[in-house]
């Protein structure tokens, strides 16, 4: 059943005993069917990323996500509040381990994060994710963040290289240098969140809180972060993404459960979700490798894009609010899908 985090046995019993659906009888023939609708006491928070000049930043436009009051896209219960948005992931240095297919599509721009960010905007990004690397010095990192900020008016998410000490070393000065921009800083995990949260709090930014595919761990990390005094409208929840074929089903179900818990009224799960299908899907052999693979895998580039798109779409269906992608064609397809989902 709805095994949401933090609900005790009694709560769970109550849920089991009183389904939220408000129909219990089979309608008579010829009567219009009464469509069962869920009525939820809770909703996802609406959260805004990026600040315009009026708000103390330099972004052309802020992006607001979340606000959901139903399971994803059930317009017959309530219209979708904010549509999910697409972020494109770029790196501070040209990555040498990305698929050649990505190198091909981004071309020269990969050598210059500002150019890359511009191209990402043209490709339809609503947000930019800038991922730093371990080779970046503090000066490099601050410079690259500034250049990306001036290259586009899109709100920015900055990820550290993913090594505790280096993350903190780079993110703190970036946070200070971009004070007031309402960046998202990440990635906070249970072993490393304090420094990032503290600097985000001090400089008006948001944080991305990642827990390894577990409702209770997500909730716990969100509690730890709020307990430091971080306002609740500045936390994004990252449930951890698995790629299609490599664990997607776990993330898919954890996201559905987080959304259900949030709608049930569990305040510590009511944050919009950010997912990383681009990162995960392009790690798989199916996307990375073109030669020496089974013939039954078909054409490489088309397959790779399907891999990213299908991974992303499944996460859209299970409640993602920010979808971080890598290939422009996947961006197109997911944007089109989202449009159809919200205009039904």
């Amino acid at each position: 059943m709805i095994a949401s985090a933090g609900l005790d046995m009694a709560d769970e019993r109550r849920l089991l005993d009183s389904p939220c659906n408000d129909i219990d009888e089979t309608p008579e023939e010829h009567m219009p069917i009464e469509i069962p609708k869920d009525k939820w006491p809770g909703n996802i928070r609406s959260i805004t990323i990026g600040a315009t000049s009026a708000e103390g930043g330099t972004r052309a436009k802020a992006v607001t996500v979340g606000g959901g009051t139903t399971m994803p896209y059930l317009q017959f219960e309530a219209p979708t509040t904010n549509k999910p948005v697409i972020a494109i992931e770029i790196k501070s240095r040209k990555p040498d381990d990305w698929s050649p297919l990505l190198a091909e599509v981004w071309g020269e721009a990969m050598n210059d994060p500002a150019q890359w960010a511009k191209k990402a905007q043209e490709a339809g990004a609503d947000l930019i994710v800038l991922a730093l690397t371990v080779e970046d010095s503090v000066e490099d990192a601050v410079k690259v963040v500034k250049s990306v900020l001036s290259a586009t008016g899109l709100p920015l998410i900055v990820w550290g290289p993913g090594q505790m000490e280096k993350d903190n070393e780079l993110l703190v000065p970036i946070s200070e240098a971009a004070k007031g921009e309402k960046l998202v800083l990440g990635i906070c995990e249970d072993k490393n969140y304090r420094t990032i949260v503290a600097t985000a709090m001090a400089n008006g930014h948001l944080v991305q809180a990642r827990a390894p595919m577990d409702v209770n761990l997500s909730k716990q990390l969100n509690i730890l972060i709020s307990d430091m005094g971080m306002p609740k409208d500045r936390i994004l929840m990252d449930p951890t993404t698995g790629a299609l074929g490599y664990g997607i089903e776990y993330g898919y179900s954890v996201m559905e459960r987080l959304r259900l818990a949030a709608l049930q009224g569990d305040a510590m799960t009511q944050f919009p979700m950010i997912v990383t299908p681009g990162f995960e899907a392009w790690k798989t052999k199916e996307s990375k490798v073109g030669e020496g693979v089974p013939e039954a895998w078909g054409d490489w580039i088309t397959r790779a894009i399907h891999w990213e798109t299908i991974t992303a779409l499944s996460l859209v269906e299970s409640g993602a609010d920010i979808i971080v992608l890598r290939h422009p064609e996947s961006v197109n397809r997911i944007k089109e899908a989202v449009e159809e989902l919200i205009t039904a």
């Binding site: 299609l244 664990g247 898919y252 052999k285 895998w297 397959r303 299908i310 499944s314 919200i342």
Partner: protein, 439 residues
Amino acid sequence: MALSGIQIYKMLPQTNCKECGFPTCLAFAMKLAAKQVELGTCPYVSEESKKQLAESAAPPIRLITLKANGTELKVGNEVVMFRHEKTFYNKPGLFLRVKASDPDLAKKIAAANAYKVSYVGMEFTLDGFAIEADGDLTAAVKTVRSATRHPLILIANDAALLDSSLSLLAGEGTLIYAADSSNYEALAEVAKKHKAALVVKADSLDDLADLTQKVQTKGMEEIVLDLGGKNLGEWLMRSTQARRLALKNFKPLGYPTIFFAAQNGPAKEAVYAAQAIAKYAGFVVLDTFAPEMIYPLLVLRENIYTDPQKPIQVQPGVYEINSPKPESPVLVTTNFSITYFAVANEVEGSGLPAWLVVTDAEGMSVLTAWAAGKFDAERIAKAIKGFNVADKVSRKRIVLPGHVAVLSGEVEEELPGWEVRVGPREAVDLPAFMKQALN
């Protein structure tokens, strides 16, 4: 809805005659509720009770079985809205639509029918073909049937034509697409005559429910629903509504659904099909035969329909890859299927011999198991000793996954006399590593 033992007891003769082998009718009823005996064991159940019990035991979404000569596809019988509530049971059938008028029909079917792909040790294929009667349907059925053993969907609305076509498919369970309010009587007759299942379509759930009830009164129960809907969003809502109603035992919609993935063009086909797979479709019909699209869709279907309670695992043990010799390296991994096959396929593809030691990590991936304490130096050493690996090799050398490089010191301590090497992080890089670093 399943009945309780007490409810069932009320429908039994209550004579406690013991012929069923139980001391009382109540005891029998309890066993029946627990599905541990068959109703038929009691000779005295009234016809009325039998009917009621059968109805209550019927799943909220009817199981529809399509059959051909030698293959069978079961769809329906689902019991939950979300996979974490229990699991999704019967994977949606993936069908390829072909046109009767297509001059290349035989070739197309042959290619698609031969399609096979393996994913973590399982082999997947398409489930069948849908033939559109835009030309000579009976001729097309003959052509298709001689090229494939998979079940068929016939897309036609002319009852006489369907009758003659289905006569060519005697003994099979075919699906007819589709009956609407104008032709359901004739189509239901044909379907019944040939033991075929029948798709029913209408523009709203109200009309659809109305129509399925009319089809039911014709004695047809093998029904599949086409929910209509103009785009992804509308179909998602209808599919959710139909599933909810069905799970609440609303019988007129208690059937699996069919979805045409290319209805808004081939560019959207993959995304449409992906949503349908995740969101309750029973049959998904594709128009494009493209391995690069079908493979990810088959994987998605497998992932969504995996029982969330049990990760797919392989047996712990020593796997011999490419006939290893005593001097071949020993690679260590976990028994999560996805992990095992990622590694085994790479090594196999490289042609290089190796002993692959699969530890019992309770079906978890390398990092998950490491984080959960199920893949540590102690467990690795236990596997090496327990599987007597030392007896198989002349050179005691093991390779750890790059992701758990931190374990190498402890493994050295646990396995004195063994050389411990750290391999690459991703299995894709194993062949190169084996060639360059292991000699």
